[in-house]
């Protein structure tokens, strides 16, 4: 009898043990100390995979101030991390649309991807580059030309048919996107206002934010500017622009842009310049044959000289003080040739 009892106790103990073991699985709030880690955002190079505990929310990037005529009925909203201007439009029936202006890195060679990305947003299928080409129409924007495309479809985020009109304006340094989207009827009604709005846009470089690259005024700078160069108002994203003397009806101009990064590196920038001259892009080995050092005293600074169909460009990329200076002398071959030496001295000089 005692033996039987022992057996029962054993069995009971085993069953209880299993139950207790299963019961141990309960989770609870833990508090522990751990070594602090260097966070890594995708743009940073800290401890990969760590929680982003050490970095701050990125500040909005430096942007030129824009001026524009706001159409009647549009109310301006605060810009966000990406856009520099936002507007809300409310129709008579309460339907809404939004308009915005956003600068992005140069996307001139990615128009197909851009259009298809937005088609995807509208629940539309992708289309070929040829079809994208047919979709784009030229319109006036700011003081130049832009490419417009319209999309209509539906959205899970909104009720009823939706429409989006986008205008892309590509500059060497930035692609500007002007957009109006929302209720299809309202967008169609506001299209003429939108076209007038984008035409009225003007870039005001003096209004750039304080975090923009610090470049001295050309007159007070250490740049070696030839007396015959005439300083003119720079374009968007440019810090200086000069008209150089013409030669046999050939004109040329010098422009300078400054960025806080290499904007993709020498290969990408030289190929962007080649694209402007309608030349085919080169690979790394081709780049090596194309460029030459600008100055032994300026490590990493390069000079490139390219020409195609009467359009010549001498360009220089100079890393200096944590910033990248992009110099361009472009115009008729004769005018460029006459100013090349002065241009090289200018690019070498400390601003």
């Amino acid at each position: 009898m005692v033996k039987r009892l022992t057996h029962k106790v054993w069995s009971f103990a085993l069953a209880s043990g299993c139950l207790a073991l299963v019961g141990c699985e309960q989770e609870s709030i833990r508090v522990y100390q751990a070594p602090k880690e260097t966070a890594r955002t995708v743009s940073g190079h800290g401890d990969m995979g760590s929680a982003p505990s050490m970095v701050e929310r990125p500040a909005p990037p430096a942007r030129p101030k824009l001026t524009y005529d706001v159409p009647t009925g549009w109310s301006e909203a605060a810009p966000n991390q990406v856009s520099v201007a936002n507007f809300t439009i409310i129709g008579a029936d309460g339907k809404t649309a939004n308009a915005s202006i956003a600068p992005l890195p140069p996307l001139g060679n990615r128009e197909t991807e851009v259009v298809n990305m937005w088609r995807q947003q509208m629940g539309l299928s992708e289309i070929s580059p040829e079809e994208v080409g047919k979709l784009l129409t030229e319109v006036d924007v700011a003081d130049t030309k832009g490419k417009l495309f319209e999309l209509a479809g539906s959205s899970t985020a909104a009720e009823g048919p939706q429409s989006i009109i986008t205008v892309m304006q590509h500059t060497p340094e930035t692609s500007w996107f002007y957009k109006i989207s929302g209720d299809e009827t309202l967008v169609t009604k506001e299209k003429s206002n939108f076209l007038a709005f984008i035409k009225s846009v003007r870039f005001d470089r003096s209004g750039s934010s304080a975090s923009a690259p610090s470049v001295p005024a050309t007159k007070a700078s250490g740049w070696k500017i030839p007396g015959e160069w005439q300083e003119v108002a720079p374009g968007a994203m440019q810090v200086a622009k000069f008209q150089v003397p013409s030669q046999k009806d050939a004109t040329a101009e010098v422009t300078v842009s400054v960025f806080p990064s290499d904007t993709g590196g020498n290969l990408a920038n030289v190929n962007r310049w080649r694209g402007q001259l309608k030349l085919n892009p080169v690979d790394e080995s081709g780049l090596g044959k194309l460029v030459q050092p600008l100055d032994a005293q300026l490590p990493g600074a390069i000079l490139v000289d390219m020409e195609n169909q009467g359009d010549r460009m001498v360009g220089a990329i100079v890393p200096r003080g944590g910033q990248w200076y992009f110099y361009k002398l472009r115009g008729g071959p004769a005018a460029v040739e006459a100013q090349k030496a002065a241009f090289v001295a200018f690019a070498r000089s400390e601003p």
């Binding site: 990969m48 929680a51 809404t96 915005s100 890195p105 904007t263």
Partner: protein
Amino acid sequence: MEKIWKAISSLKLTVILLGFGVVLVFIGTVAQADEGLYNAQERYFKHWFVPYFSFFGTKVPVPMPGGYFLGTALLVNLVAAHFTRFKWGWKKSGIFLTHIGVIALLVGQLATDLLSRETQLRFAEGETKRYSESAMEYELAIVTDVDADTEEVVSIPYSLIKAGEEIKHEKLPFTLKVKELWKNTDTSFRAPMQKQDKAPITTNGVAQDFDFIQAAETKKMEEKNIPTVIVDVVAPKGDLGTWVLSGWSGDSLLVESIHSSYERSVGHDSATRISDLLSAPQSVEVDGKTYTMSMRPARAYKPYSMTLLKTTHTVYPGTEIPKDFRSRVRIENPESKENREVDIYMNTPLRYEGLTFYQYQMGKDELDRSRGTSTLQVVRNPGWLTPYVGCALVGIGLVVQFMIHLVGFVSKRRTA
């Protein structure tokens, strides 16, 4: 009582339990198609009872005993039967060993199931890590600085977060009121060129730039649920606002996947800006201390660090068949003053401090393609020896019992 005891120790019960076991394994395996591997494992094998089961897409409302019940019942039945019927003698030593082996297998499996834990350690060449992360589970981590080198973490397991409830802890000077809890979510960037017909969930933190939308729970093996919780942070001195804490922001792998996805359409620089916005920390300040909140993969910290020195990834020429996956790793353990390098490669894991590190995956750093990355599967299994011991005991027991019978049989023949 005697009848109950008889029933518990009966061989009929053994057969019935084994029968249920066969049925449960069959049903649980079939259900993986409908419910997914992890869900099916959890519901059929890691529970005491299964209230209903799925069978080729049909929900069958028939309750079944779960894996825990069958395992425990078999164990009790075996022990009871053993003590009831077994009479010790050298001639039955083989049976005794076999029973002990089966008990070791059953107990060991239960211990493995309850105590083992699998996490992953992913790092790039040159990077040092002190923790591994769960591939499936998330935690709500609230981190504050202790000093220049140390931070204090209050880790709230996802399973403890319930919509409509409050989260309080003595280490937190505020209460988290859970407004919404979504087991799986999708996210989209609130880019100016995209549609923004809805106001952001909140004007704090990541919600300014990203929308988070509740998604259907995924049960596919190759996918995982990415949770998002919306909380009101309430301090004694006032409301600190509504915050969206999502696995999309706290999981570095997901942030990198968003970067890759946008890089294809808008280029590296814009994609970097977008992914930086997604992963930027979200903090509140109370009494001069900053508390950073994130929903991140559940972490398991180690008292030592591991640095990935080099990855080797070679395939057989002309094929994609891996020839050598190898991670050269340095272990630095301040407690044992250990500082040594080891190779972890296919079929040759590192066993260290109760953990086993298996070479799992290799890849390239999303940021710096020249850097290799390695993922180690980190397995903690305190019961890892029990299957070996159990199987050895069963094997030895069967051999011993066979030999005893063989010797007895041969002896009888000689005598005859």
